[in-house]
Amino acid sequence: MSNKLRNPFKMRASERIESDVSFLRLYSHVALEALIDKNNKSELWNQVMFIRSSPGAGKTSLLRIFEPNSLHTLFTHRSSPDYRELFNALKKLEVISDESVQVIGLILSGTRNYGILDNLNISDGQKLRLFYALLNSRIVLAFLKGACDLCKLSFPDSLDVLKFTLNARNDFQSFGIPNTGTGRDLYLWASQIERNVQHSIDSFRPLREDKIGHDEFFVIDVLKPQNFTLAGKSICSKILIMLDDAHKFTVMQRNSLVKYLVERRSDSNVWISERLEALQPEDHFASFNGRDYQEINLEKFWANHQAQFEKILLLVASKRAAMSTDQINSFIENLETDLEEDVYETKIKTALETIRASIAKMASYSSKFDTWIKYVNELTGHPLETALVLKQIEILISRNLGKTQLAFDFPLTLDELKDKMDGGTAAAALLFLSKEYKIPYYYGFRNLVKISTNNIEQFLAFSSELFEGILSNGIAGNQVLLTTEIQEKIIKKVVEEKWKELPKLIPQSNQVISFLTEFGNFSTKETYKANAPYAPSVSGFSVVDNPSNGFISEEPWLKNAIHQRLVSVLSICLAYNLLDIKEVNQGVKGKVWKVFYLNRWLCIKFNLPLNYGGWRQRKADELLKWIPAHE
């Protein structure tokens, strides 16, 4: 493949970056924060840990850094300023030291034909035996390859020099593994098992009835650092087994594996990375506290560490831009961050006139706004700022007029006006002004971070097109800086493309798209009310049970068969990162609501602001009406 990287933002996930040097160059050490946080609490090593997120949040990248080739490359370049911060971060995690790489990390992907085993015409017990046989053999093979990569040996030819001695208390001989031997012995054992299982399940010729299979996941006891030596020396101090894409295992396989690991309470390092879709609907909507294992939910982690997430994206953007072979090697600096007011001078002037007229008309019905009108008439200054203040006043008058009139028409004071003008009304004013007068709203790096919704792949989807725009400016000989107008145009184009792609990508697409459309339209309607009641916007909902009719108490919506369609659509939306859940404290003290928010790119689809905040309670029955009964 070519090493030319015209637009390095188009290379999405780490698994598509084949060179370790390129991977490390693009890797941001800040991505390890979640693990450093766990390590500081002594919750990282010698236990089972789940790493969960929706697609594209960076699970595989997080794991890849622990592979021997990545660590070895980093160790070799440890003095280079480009890699220093990453080296130090991994040192904090006890993965690497100034003397050597300490960990052999091996990744086993759940995408590799484990699911097929569930559909063979054999008993459930035998299916699990084949599953564990395949898992055990592949983990051993991955470890042997990792050991060769780390020690710069040829795999599998040089495995003779790797020796193992197993603890005599563990009898692995019944599985065919001797107590002592070489890496080659282990290789032959594992490759034979893998081949037998594969041939049994994938041939047009009849299924072999071989008695292959293992009853347990015993390799976690074989793969202990003290068991392996090279020229009499230990090869590492930790072995890390990473089961990537574990959501691809069948429910039976995953449950059996998790049960085994949790019940064993083994001190092995096993990290299980999976998408949220591996969870049952109840798990999606429930809390993870009090489980028997450690868990990192990447999106939740970054949602609580926004500053670090922004830092990651800054690093990702600057590292990628620096790799471009075109003349342009910066990204953020080429995104206009402030509205070009001279370009929109006429529109802003029209807005000022129109809003002043609108305020005057609204206030003409009552004398209580006299002080405010005086203020409006005297207001001068920067045109855009003035227009925004006027828009806020328009919203506040609209709110006041909409209230039931209990008070006399005493003039409202200027202090009252200023008290009522808060961040919410300011944000609503900006949104309304942009929409009504077609002034760009979605632009700048800060907004790009918000659009990313804590998901790096999503950030790259948008930033790759913006970088393309920057490159195009360069080729055309124009000013390289992307104007706010062009930024918004590109962002909206990406949103439309992503929306159009949905039927191809998601299951039950008709139902999901109908639901999102209804929800988006509902949010738009609520957001753009003249009095901006939920300023700056509504982009979330919380599901409430239908009220009891007094005689029959209904089941909670999540368990009610009638709402199965809703549960299914919500689960798909969460698994595919179309909605995300946030816990919000509101109302009765201590009451925590689970609020389903639109992913921020969907906010653009429905012309909504990118801030989180406003949400409404909806009954399960009401939400169900947003989903057609049939595809």
Binding site: K10, I116, N119, D202, F204, R205, V251
Partner: protein, 380 residues
């Protein structure tokens, strides 16, 4: 390369098909005709053609119905499916309807099992039967299903030949129509990919670490397919294959332009890796694929050779070439050399959406029939 099984082959096209049936079938012919029950108006074209030419032929018609699940976008075309079925009933007296499921669902998780079930079904159908001729009509069958059917049939026929039996004449029939293909759009692409049953080619093995060469046959509108397959395969080298010569001489350029960003910016394909195959000759595809894979394997012998993955994002007719190449390298006949690890990866969808379904019927008659002769008289 010189010992290719289908080096010399028989491909019968359109106007020659009827004439061929006339010459080939005899009163003692016993024909098994396998086709899919679907909405595609081409479903009955092949069998109509046979029956019009040989109205009295001894024919057993096996109709395969595949259940894609109640959420499949295709369920809205039930009327078209029923109409095709009615048409079939008017052509043949007896229909042996066999149902298979596209999916197996366990505790909310779906696994594609259609290919495995189709292969098992063929094993059962052929057991103890002595058909002189077998036709598999792929016009209304999904790719993973007809790959399994044809692969399974070939192994059964090959085993018979190994045992000294003559084996039947085995034909694959395809009704080609690019306009209809454009109108049928795949929806809800599979999230969980996996290699084709029977043609997984040991690609997933952890015991070796040869580089993987990926050869996707490209057609229109396959950007998402390419992206998904690439993420799954993680190839070391990609050789996209475009259809040329083609009826529309600009077709390969159009496909190329449509996918250029994916090919060059995302997948970073080397321009010199792009290959061309004739649009309407699966045997040429087969030869080109085998020679490419063998060349790579030889060139990379210092790395213990290579593995290859074939993906068919193209017409069904061309995809037969990929099937034959993968089959030959995975299940070689005795006289040929050792196997190469070649896998087939499809990106299946959970259903289809038809742009302007009413127009399909009028386009039907513009379809071209192709008969691909795989075993039997010419190869004995």
């Amino acid at each position: 390369m010189n010992n290719l099984r289908w080096q010399h082959n028989v491909l019968i096209r359109n106007s020659g098909v009827k004439e061929f049936w006339k010459q080939h079938f005899t009163p003692s012919s016993k024909l098994l005709y396998v086709l899919g029950r679907g909405f595609d108006p081409r479903m009955t074209l092949g069998i109509e053609n046979v029956k019009e030419t040989m109205p009295d032929i001894n024919i057993e018609c096996v109709l395969i119905e595949f259940d894609e699940g109640r959420h499949s976008p295709s369920t809205k075309y039930k009327d078209l499916v029923n109409s095709n079925h009615t048409k079939l009933k008017s052509i043949v007296d007896t229909i042996n309807l066999q149902k298979i499921s596209a999916w197996s669902k366990s505790e909310g998780k779906k696994i594609r099992v259609g290919d495995r079930q189709a292969a098992e079904l063929i094993g059962t159908i052929l057991q103890g039967k002595d058909y002189t001729d077998i036709i598999v009509d792929i016009s209304a069958l999904p790719r993973s299903i007809f790959f399994a059917i044809i692969g399974k049939m070939l192994t059964i026929v090959d085993d018979e030949i190994t045992q000294g039996k003559p084996g039947p004449n085995f034909f694959v029939l395809a009704a080609e129509n690019a306009d209809i293909d454009f109108k049928i759009v795949e929806e809800e692409l599979d999230e969980d990919l996996g290699y084709q049953h029977g043609l997984a080619g040991n690609i997933d093995s952890y015991a070796d670490s040869q580089p993987i060469i990926w050869l996707p046959l490209l057609g229109e509108g396959k950007k998402t397919h390419l992206d998904k397959a690439n993420q799954f395969i993680k190839p070391s080298e990609i050789c996209p294959i475009l259809p040329f010569p083609s009826k529309n001489p600009r077709r390969s350029d159009n496909i190329f332009m449509e996918h250029q960003e994916m090919l060059f910016d995302v997948l970073r394909v080397e321009a010199q890796n792009i290959m061309y195959v004739p649009e309407q000759n699966p045997f040429e595809v087969y030869k080109k694929l085998i020679s490419t894979i063998e060349n790579y394997d030889n060139s990379l012998s210092a790395l213990k050779g290579c593995k290859a993955v074939l993906s068919t994002f193209c017409s069904k007719l061309l995809s037969i070439g990929a099937l034959l190449a993968a089959y030959e390298l995975t299940y070689p006949q005795k006289q040929q050399g050792s196997t190469l690890d070649v896998g087939v990866l499809h990106v299946d969808s959970q259903g289809y959406n038809i742009n302007d379904p009413k127009s399909l019927e009028s386009l039907r008659d513009k379809s071209e029939l192709f008969v691909i002769w795989l075993t039997g008289i010419p190869y004995q």
